[in-house]
Symmetry: C2
Subunit: 198 residues, 2 copies
């Protein structure tokens, strides 16, 4: 027996989601069948509305339904510090800490030789435009991967000439992490980055 | 920073899916944002179409877009053997084996004291209607859980008086399973159900 056609189409849609294979897609489709028609309608409309309404902030590239995002519009934020991240998802992660009060810049990717992503593919023009003298520090908060490092090195070179302090987030043992589970590179970085005890 | 409203609504929808929490819903919503408008439209339409078109087969309760499901309509299938399952999902699992050639009956649930599900809440009337003398065997293929067992016992009582052979699927060690990982009840059932080697 095959699935009914409309069921299969729905499963195909779910399989586009990251980490969702045939089995999960099947479970998800069954769950949707068990929901009321109203619930499914609301969900379908929410998907479309999100796709149609959300676009990148003209200043930093963060997600927003307006022209400028909530953070860029917030006069309480320290606009002299810009935290550069790979994607808007990283902003949400940073915001959850509630410790950072500067603004952001979303690159929309990382330089990658293997994926053929070049500096010109990133959201850099608007970052350079922001270097109008009002910015004191740029924190490079790309991932600690090869691509993240490459991008950070590139940005450091690009921005240093603009008379701005360029910093990189710290490497080390994650909180709760065990030394014997940490890889060698992380340990080396943790020792290199050691600080005097307060 | 909060998510844009339409993004949050979309996340809420995803969180209705089984096993999907805040983090996964966020990832899924971001994936949808990365898809083209056409892809999102197709997915939203597929959801609605599925919900509107699919309903239970009038005979067995399996999912179908027609009046009777593919299996009930198939004259090649042995309609004298009915395999009783909890949900339409179990039919798909059974069909994947390609070893069963009878027909099915979907209960749409299991008797459960804790969830307050009584025999009258199950799709039983139509099962009894099918006991018109043409059925030779009813295989009880409910889960090997308390609820599955309770339901199987109830069905055995109900159907035995109808002059039909009532059987239960076998319990034992799953293929690839290790004895030292099996629980005691499974081992007891596996020993009880032992067979002469061919």
């Amino acid at each position: 027996m095959a699935y009914p056609k409309s069921f299969e189409k729905c499963m195909e849609g779910f399989q586009k989601l990251p980490g969702v294979g045939l089995k999960s897609a099947e479970r998800y489709a069954f769950t949707m069948l068990d929901c009321s028609l109203q619930e499914v309608q609301e969900f379908a409309e929410a998907l479309l509305e999100m796709k149609q309404k959300i676009h990148p902030c003209v200043i930093c590239g963060n997600l927003t339904e307006k022209e400028e995002c909530e953070i860029c519009q917030d006069s309480q934020r320290d606009s002299s510090t810009i935290c550069v991240v790979q994607s808007a998802r990283d902003i949400l992660a940073m915001e959850r800490t509630k410790e950072y009060h500067g603004v952001y810049h979303v690159l929309n990717g990382l330089i990658s030789a293997s994926k053929g992503i070049l500096p010109e593919d990133l959201n850099l023009d608007s970052l350079l435009k922001r270097m109008d003298g009002s910015v004191r520090e740029v924190i490079l908060a790309t991932n600690a991967t090869v691509e993240g490092e490459t991008t950070a090195l590139y940005l450091d070179k690009l921005l240093s000439s603009k008379g701005v302090l360029v910093t990189r987030i710290a490497y080390g043992i994650p909180i709760g992490g065990h030394l014997d589970y940490a890889d060698e590179l992380t340990l080396i970085k943790a020792i290199e980055g050691r600080k005097k005890m307060d």
